[in-house]
Amino acid sequence: MTPDKGVRGSFVGNGRLSDEAKAELQRPRPATEKELEELLRQLLDLLVECVGSTIADRSGRYTEQLKREAAEKTYDYYVFRLMTNWRADGTVIPWLAHRNVFFHKFKRTIRDLNRHNTTLRGVRKHGQEEPKPVSRFIPMDAAEAPDIIVSRVHGDRWRAPESTEAQALTPMALELIPRIISVLGTRTGDSGLSEKHAQLARILMHLELGAGSLAEDDVRLLWSFTDIRVWRSQVAQAWHEQALADQQQSTGNGKRPRALTKPNQSEVNEGTRRVLQLTKTCLYLFITLAPPQRAVARPETMHQLLDLVFHSNKSLTTQQRKLLQHAGKNLQPGAWQFRVHKDEFVSSARTLAAFRTSTEDELLEDLHQAEAAFAPHVPGQRTPPRFRCVLECSDHLPQPPKGHIDD
């Protein structure tokens, strides 16, 4: 009788995994790419099954959205684990694609999300109490935070990203901009675009980016252009003519028209600036402050995060929100690292009464804290949060592993 060997009773039910079968599934084994894909396919089927399930809790069913979110998180988690093993030494652990394991994690995840949606993410529900995380050590996106112990202890490999980040970020920004503009167009207030500005944004996107969809009015406007290289003065001209026409229509009753002498170029420029600044702010919030590999692309999430930064809430102080807004406007376009232009940010933030006398270091530290308060709200964020912070500190930036710390 050996103490380490579990002795199973003689009541193994039909279809139940024996200890031996389970041990076999848990054993890492070399796999070809085909075999890996087979496991990925299994995971896809489990994902579909979870999405279509009628899983219920005490108070009834979970929402479709919750089910989808939980299923996806579970899927992402096991894909990551499978992939990491496979990339490290060409092995797979079939257990990680086993339905029991998957469903179990899915149930846990949906339960956590349900609690967190009514708590941590409650920023959109007005008048709610400030949420308290269920547990300080179980982060919202636990399922997406695989922990890879890489050190000489395990002999695992750490791989530097193959392409430099900056190269990849520009195309990413260009992919996001059409979505950002259409989200901004549906918002009002500080984080939204008026009808005219939204039209400007669509034209800009169409002409400069060759993307996005135009409204009927936009097409009419474009048709009136005689030279699209100077499209901003063309817009000013078109708006001017439109205003004149409107005025003529409404002067039938003898009212004296207000002087409309020439196209108002500054109105167009100001609008363009506003579009560009808001767009940059969005890129800052959705790329710079997002976790690596998790840029924000879903419109619902964009709305949530914009609310967080532009509407008062209990997660960020007013001053933190203002700093984030100013930082976003001053995203550095030149090097395109998606970093805040520090000098420009500092002088812009000093226009705020609360920061008029702050030193540069103080301002940057305050912004850093505001970023740290914002970042955990981006879906997929880990604990501790990872993002491209203004101070480029080692706590937030992705970093190569420390072999050890000698001290």
Binding site: M83, N100, K107, I110, F137, E175, Q277, A295, P401, K402
Partner: protein, 470 residues
């Protein structure tokens, strides 16, 4: 600068926009899935595929794409092909969340990022001769915090990120966690079955003896477990389904472990017979001569200490009173009531002012607790004796205090300096873990999981706590 001009930054941004990549945008496809035509287009063009990979390294594939990849149609086959390429690329370019590895003298500690901010007291801990492990009690399939002296012991790789993450030691750690932190059932007719948990812990300690370095822990847990085991045989006769399977899985190893660690104990002969039967018979028959005992009901506790105070006559005037949250870290497991983890105190006026302290006892009451009292900076210790379901004690004060701080401790556990908020959070965290386990095993219907194969399957003591009928 006037409003009339664009800043140099704005112009630079416009210039950037004016030089878009020549390939099509793919974000919509990444989020929602590809049509057959789009998928072929991308697969046929190295440039487009490359662009897709560039983008997908920055943004997660959407659920729509994943769902579109499942199935047997041509579209799903093509979507899957692209999706798997994307997943591989993401894994290649992943910024891997490195754990914090620290080395101080000979001690190496590896803390996975997720657990970086964890309160270790809340983790499921097990100490081995050559190191320590701390698991998140709700995520036994994820890597634990490990600490060891000198070279890495073999188990470090066994629990690491490249393992299947179902290490039996994790279950032992979870059992220990439940033993320490389970607050009790709060139902006086069905108190937490500590002996049953001891039995299962003993089996786990026995099965993990090679990691634990000896069978000492098994011996410790299994002492006096003979009767529990014999009673369990009878108790599970009417259990069915997976609950029965869980119980049946425990019986044979429990008999073996018990006989190996306590061969000369009283119930050994009966258990030897049981072990023999388990080896040879297909069905278990009820054992005769064993009373189907359960832990004795603990005496019904009053709803709250407040009620108890009201019940006790006090003709003198109560000057001040208050509630203080008890830190579970400072008292033995289940020694205080789950629903009343607060001590009630009151100061009664009189020739000599007196402090009364009351605590409602839990399901595993102890003889007494202590109240550490600081009245106007003067410290004193008040012994609280238990009578029935209440611990109580009185302390003569020299004068009416302006400031009073009361903390309940047990001499063996000592004081904790955490704030009341931290104590309440700690209690809430424990409750959350206890509730989560119940919900995922009992309350969430559909998608039934054969939990008997999982390392964090319910302990029998949990099953009987969830369902008093068992």
């Amino acid at each position: 600068m006037t409003d009339n001009e664009l800043t140099s930054q704005d112009v630079a941004f416009l210039e950037l926009l004016a030089s878009p990549p020549t390939v099509d945008l793919v974000l919509d496809d990444i989020l929602n899935g590809f049509s057959v035509e789009r998928a072929r287009e991308v697969l046929d063009s190295p440039e487009k595929l490359n662009h897709l990979l560039t983008i997908v390294a920055q943004v997660a594939p959407g659920l729509g794409w994943k769902l579109a990849s499942s199935g047997t149609t041509e579209a799903s086959r093509l979507n899957a092909q692209l999706l798997f390429a994307a997943l591989q690329h993401r894994a290649e370019t992943a910024d891997i969340d490195t754990p914090l590895v620290t080395q101080l003298d000979e001690l190496t500690t590896i803390v996975p990022g997720r657990l970086a901010a964890a309160d270790r007291a809340l983790l499921a801990h097990v100490a081995l001769p050559d190191g320590d492990l701390w698991w998140d009690p709700l995520n036994l399939d994820e890597p634990p915090i490990v600490a060891y002296q000198g070279d890495a012991p073999r188990w470090v790789a066994e629990v690491g990120p490249q393992s299947a993450g179902q290490h039996p030691l994790g279950r032992y750690a979870l059992g220990r966690w439940l033993f320490r932190w389970h607050p009790g059932t709060g139902q006086h007719h069905n108190p937490f079955d500590e002996p049953l948990l001891r039995l299962e812990l003993g089996v786990l300690a026995w099965q993990n003896a090679s990691h634990l370095g000896s069978t000492e822990a098994a011996t410790h847990w299994l002492r006096d477990s003979g009767t529990t085991l014999l009673q369990l045989v009878n108790r599970v006769q009417h259990w069915t389904g997976w609950r029965r399977e869980l119980a049946d899985d425990l019986l044979a190893p429990a008999a073996d472990a018990y006989l190996a660690t306590q061969p000369d104990s009283g119930p050994a002969a009966a258990i030897r017979e049981l072990a023999d039967r388990l080896r040879h018979a297909d069905t278990l028959v009820q054992l005769s001569g064993i009373d189907q005992l359960r832990p004795a009901d603990f005496s019904a506790a009053p709803e709250s200490a407040e009620l108890a105070l009201v019940a006790g006559e006090s003709s003198n005037q109560v000057i001040a009173q208050g509630l203080v949250t008890i830190d579970p870290r400072c008292v033995p497991p289940r020694s205080i009531a789950r629903r009343q983890m607060q001590a009630m105190w009151e100061v009664v006026d009189g020739p000599n002012p007196e402090l009364h302290v009351l605590v409602v006892a839990g399901e595993t009451p102890v003889e007494g607790l202590q109240a550490q009292v600081v009245a106007d900076g003067v410290e004193s210790v008040l012994e609280l004796r238990r009578t029935g379901s209440l611990y109580s004690g009185n302390l003569q004060l020299e004068q009416l205090p302006d400031r009073l701080d009361v903390q309940i401790v047990h001499p063996e556990h000592g004081r904790d300096s955490r704030s009341a908020n931290r104590r309440e959070d700690f209690i809430a965290d424990i409750e959350s873990i206890i509730e989560t386990r119940q919900e995922i095993y009992l309350d969430l219907t559909d998608l039934s999981v054969d939990c008997t194969v999982l390392v964090d399957r319910p302990f029998l003591a949990e099953l009987v706590a969830w369902d008093a009928e068992l």
